[in-house]
Symmetry: C2
Subunit: 473 residues, 2 copies
Amino acid sequence: MLKRHAAVLSAAGLVLCCANIAIAEDAPSLTERQAQTVDRLIDAGLEDDVAWEVLESVTTEVGPRLAGSEAEARARDWGAAKLKQLGFKNVRIETYEMPYWERVKEEAEIVSPFPQPLIVTALGNSIATPEGGLTGEVVRFRTLPELQAAPETGLEGKIVFVDEPMARTQNGSGYGTAVQKRSQAAVEAGKRGAVAALIRSAGTDSHRNPHTGGATRGGAPTAVPTAALSNPDADQLARAVNRAEGPVTVRLDLQVKTAESVTSGNVIGEIPGKTDELIVVGGHLDSWDLGTGAIDDGAGIAITTAAAKLVGDLRGKPTRTIRVVMWGAEEVGVYGGAAYAEAHKDEIDKHIIAAESDFGAGPVWRFDTGVAEAALPKAEVIEKALRRLAIIPGDNHAHGGADIGAIRGLGVPVAGLVQDGTDYFDLHHTPDDTLDKVDPAALRQNVAAWAAFIYLASEMDGDFGRLPVAQEE
Amino acid sequence: MLKRHAAVLSAAGLVLCCANIAIAEDAPSLTERQAQTVDRLIDAGLEDDVAWEVLESVTTEVGPRLAGSEAEARARDWGAAKLKQLGFKNVRIETYEMPYWERVKEEAEIVSPFPQPLIVTALGNSIATPEGGLTGEVVRFRTLPELQAAPETGLEGKIVFVDEPMARTQNGSGYGTAVQKRSQAAVEAGKRGAVAALIRSAGTDSHRNPHTGGATRGGAPTAVPTAALSNPDADQLARAVNRAEGPVTVRLDLQVKTAESVTSGNVIGEIPGKTDELIVVGGHLDSWDLGTGAIDDGAGIAITTAAAKLVGDLRGKPTRTIRVVMWGAEEVGVYGGAAYAEAHKDEIDKHIIAAESDFGAGPVWRFDTGVAEAALPKAEVIEKALRRLAIIPGDNHAHGGADIGAIRGLGVPVAGLVQDGTDYFDLHHTPDDTLDKVDPAALRQNVAAWAAFIYLASEMDGDFGRLPVAQEE
């Protein structure tokens, strides 16, 4: 693989050095029939009802579907039945094993001086408190770096509270910092002898729905029990600390259930092409347990399934095989993505391009790629076809989606149909991730964009090259 | 009282018949000093920080304060201390007894065919289910009238679900219908042998925070256990009923605690005037237990207290005594308002006018009155003074607020500083009724309006007549 990759890079270098000439002479373009088909697909996408039906179906008939749970197993059965019903072929469930964690109880209250309940949710892989909870004085840190800079003694027996707010942005750029807080607060608290770590939710809303999310990966237990306060509850605890003349004490009671190994799985369906080359698209099937996983990530499943079906409904077989994957267990450690890469490594060269929809249900506003340089003119043709949907050109740094990460690491090129996520972190990982939050018009715009992308990725001559293969860690 | 009232009505009739002349010749007006003072009070109100401090203090240091609870007792102590700290005189707590109800546990889930949790909250005075809950098939009614029109048999053992949505309006006019649903669903369900009644929350938001509220008054137990689903959960249950091929069964587990009699109370403070005539203003001190009672009704307490203090801070005593009342136990049956009327009936003639702020923290946009016809020209002077705050003239049908109802029934005139309640029912009676939902600028506009009103009600010549005394039921 590395050898081939080096060759591709050289080719890309050549193209780059002579870009003007190369593009002028060799720039790919669409046949008239292809251009007309793209237009028809976009028209059909903008009137699509399949995505909404799929999304309503999974959020209603399955509801919350925590990775590794009995509910996720029902979701797999649902997904396989839905793909068959929509006419997909080679529908199957590919299982794998993974560690399991679920919340059983989560309660918090200010004990003194201002007794009142606080709304919290345990973070994924949090260890439990003792039965009945633990009580400690709250020490507030405005940011994670402030906690990281604190002395290594002085917090023994305390409850650390990291109050760092998250920035609202269109592209979700505030999430990286927020995830640091979510994972590191317990680590830093534990180092210093604290008994628990509370964080302000990694979220941008102002409702009393805390945001959950993993505190560790791979089922690793946290250093201390750790939970997120809703934003209004974080405000409240901060005010209590500011207004109290003495210490503020909080009681935290988290109970959890874990298992070393349970079964999860990916659900796969295909529109067979004239060749065994693959276009892989999808979203993740699991959701956090608090909501019904409408924007995270029922929407991704619904959009890519409906778009692939539109391509499949065209007369004749597509050139390449369109493979829809409903990835399992993304939220708790991207187990589905890793299992897919392992199971399909022998056919990895058949993967022409892969992309995941996993940033809600807002409209696509930008088209990014992660392809070999030589393939950029081809990406540009796709990007031009998407302009009708008010989608602008992006860059070639697409990551493709969490579940695509593993096969991207094996050299598979990726695309990013970048969604507007301005309100995504109002909802994600909260009880409020429900169907009513999805705008049907925006969902349809997504279907139109994905249908055009899938069609062109399948039908255009040539491939997208290969990406550098990631070094084994 | 009735005799005097008749005389007032006659006088009002006279004024009405000769309105043009009477108003032209006798129209009250402000002295230059009064007009300047109103301007200064409005200026000061628009820069006020006291209301925010009071509101932050009660919502943070007391938090939720359910009527009759230990938390409401702490709120009374808080209120008395706060009024003293702000310089009010004759501060006291006037207690009364009332029945008690509190939620202990509330859980619901769809059992089949789509197993998943539902978020509910028990309605006030709901009876408990058996321990461990009850399970029944859901029968959905789109509206309360549809349930009321249903046959008296056929619902035995079922769970009634009244799915009626609430309209969003500026003046909260959708709430009357919603309250009917909240109180009558259990009545109608019980008549027909149903085992429980679920309603779509009486609220306009789309978050997973259900709206509580009384299902009965006077501590009367409901016919069957009854609870409200959040709007997204009502959507979900409706979809489940629509999509299921067979019956949808739900398990509901409500546990409650009641007591025949507990102590509650009103907190009273005064700015003594040159006379013992009274201007009574206030808000209610209790809140539902789910939120911290910021908009319902910490804001009312904060606004009226801060406004009265601004008047009290003027040089010299006001002409009339300004009495601030923090009414207890409004939410569960207006016990504080009734107790006040009973305790103060011997001085009821001293009450010149009364008004309560209890519709959130949105800006005042209209000035209503409920005064004798003869006093309308005086009301008009106040209304003109408020125009600077973008407040328009209203009508003479003000109810004055729930806690004012009892003394209004004894003939006391009332005023209504009508707030914009467009978002009020997004928040009220939910966990989301928290301080962050209050706009400091709108809170100040309220303080300015109330300060001007209180000052003019105190200082202008003449009274507001008397209202018809309500017939004893």
